[in-house]
């Protein structure tokens, strides 16, 4: 049986590459926004933090930041596994575990932002 990889493109990979870059820009913008808010208010205290996260627009921005972070992390961590983890079964296991953890983080993010208490 020939298991050698047929020499052609898998026709994916470009999207992940673009998303990694776009998500990096999104995260940079959100970070700049946070820093600007902190500078504008002369620091961040509990009252400001609470007011910020009571604002629906800021919650949405935070949600977008987390989605960008999680997708960015997925592409980056998968790259690490593809580079260094040679046994196929172990790579599949690690990639699947990463997806599970990242999706769980997304759920946790939703709980924190809109769960209410």
């Amino acid at each position: 049986m020939v298991t050698e990889r047929h020499v052609t493109g898998a026709h994916f990979g470009l999207k992940d590459w673009i998303v990694q870059r776009v998500s990096a820009v999104l995260m940079a913008l959100y970070t700049a926004l946070l820093v600007a808010i902190a500078l504008w208010n002369g620091g961040v205290d509990y009252a400001l933090w609470k007011a910020l996260f009571a604002n629906a627009a800021f919650k949405l921005a935070s949600f977008l930041f987390m989605v960008a972070l999680l997708y960015h992390a997925w592409v980056g961590v998968r790259d690490l596994f593809m580079d260094y983890i040679k046994p196929f079964a172990l790579r599949l296991l690690l990639e699947a575990a990463t997806v599970v953890v990242l999706v769980a983080y997304l759920g946790w993010t939703l709980q924190i932002l809109w769960g209410g208490r």
């Binding site: 990889r5 493109g9 990979g13 590459w17 673009i18 593809m82 580079d83 260094y84």
Partner: protein
């Protein structure tokens, strides 16, 4: 001049070892290759490849004081003693400084390194505008010495799946060629998380290229071409 050379003959040695040499040079010896030919006269079991002795054939690529380069165009005056010579990293060693380049050339062949154009050839030649011809500068000069690919960590980890900087530079040489009609197929061939996207822009390839070429730039242009046709 003092040399520390990687030695390995799989037929007689259990493991690779390092051998020290002190080679008497003549006043006419300029390049590292001259010294290696002297060394070979002292110890004829020492093996390396060389052919054109002027940086055109790419045969005598090796790791010189930790950096890949061509012995024939490496000036002896610029080398710190003892000069440490090792085979190109990441490829199987056949003997001493001679490596098995099969994997490297397999990747090179996978990008179809020839013009694809099914239109009937004109009587004389396929013409290009001077501007179109300029696009090939910095690409066609590659001599396939493998200095870049064997300096690339991504190629070390996945030599069977990642095309490597040399192969990708050659791939872009044909993507950029106005006479080639297979641009789309070429991009399809490369759109792959391993074949192209193992490049993490480490840029060792630019650092070592003895011809002063820039494979990273070619890889960036391949990605640009993909983005343009997709977005």
């Amino acid at each position: 001049m003092k040399f520390r050379v990687y030695r390995y003959d799989p037929e007689s040695d259990a493991a690779p070892y390092v051998e020290d040499y002190d080679v008497a040079l003549e006043s006419t010896d300029r390049m590292l290759l001259d010294a290696l030919i002297r060394l070979k006269a002292v110890d004829d079991t020492f093996s390396f490849r060389r052919s054109c002795r002027e940086g055109v054939c790419g045969s005598d690529a090796m790791n010189i004081n930790g950096k890949n380069g061509l012995a024939c165009i490496t000036n002896l005056k610029e080398l710190k003693e003892p000069v440490e010579l090792r085979p190109l990293p990441g490829l199987p060693v056949i003997r001493d400084l001679i490596v098995d380049m099969s994997q490297f050339f397999k990747q090179y062949h996978s990008i179809k390194p020839y013009l694809v154009n099914d239109t009937p050839p004109p009587e004389k030649e396929r013409l290009q505008s001077p501007e179109d011809r300029d696009e090939l500068d910095g690409l066609y000069e590659c001599i396939l010495c493998a200095c870049c690919s064997t300096a690339c960590p991504s190629f070390w980890w996945n030599p069977d799946k990642f095309v490597g900087p040399a192969g990708l530079l050659q791939a872009y040489r044909f993507i950029a060629d106005s006479r080639d009609h297979a641009t789309s197929e070429r991009l399809d061939n490369l759109e792959d998380p391993y074949r192209l996207f193992r490049c993490h822009t480490i840029m060792n390839c630019i650092d070592v290229c003895p011809k002063g070429l820039n494979p990273t730039k070619a890889i960036v242009k391949i990605r640009d071409s993909m983005v343009k046709r997709t977005v």
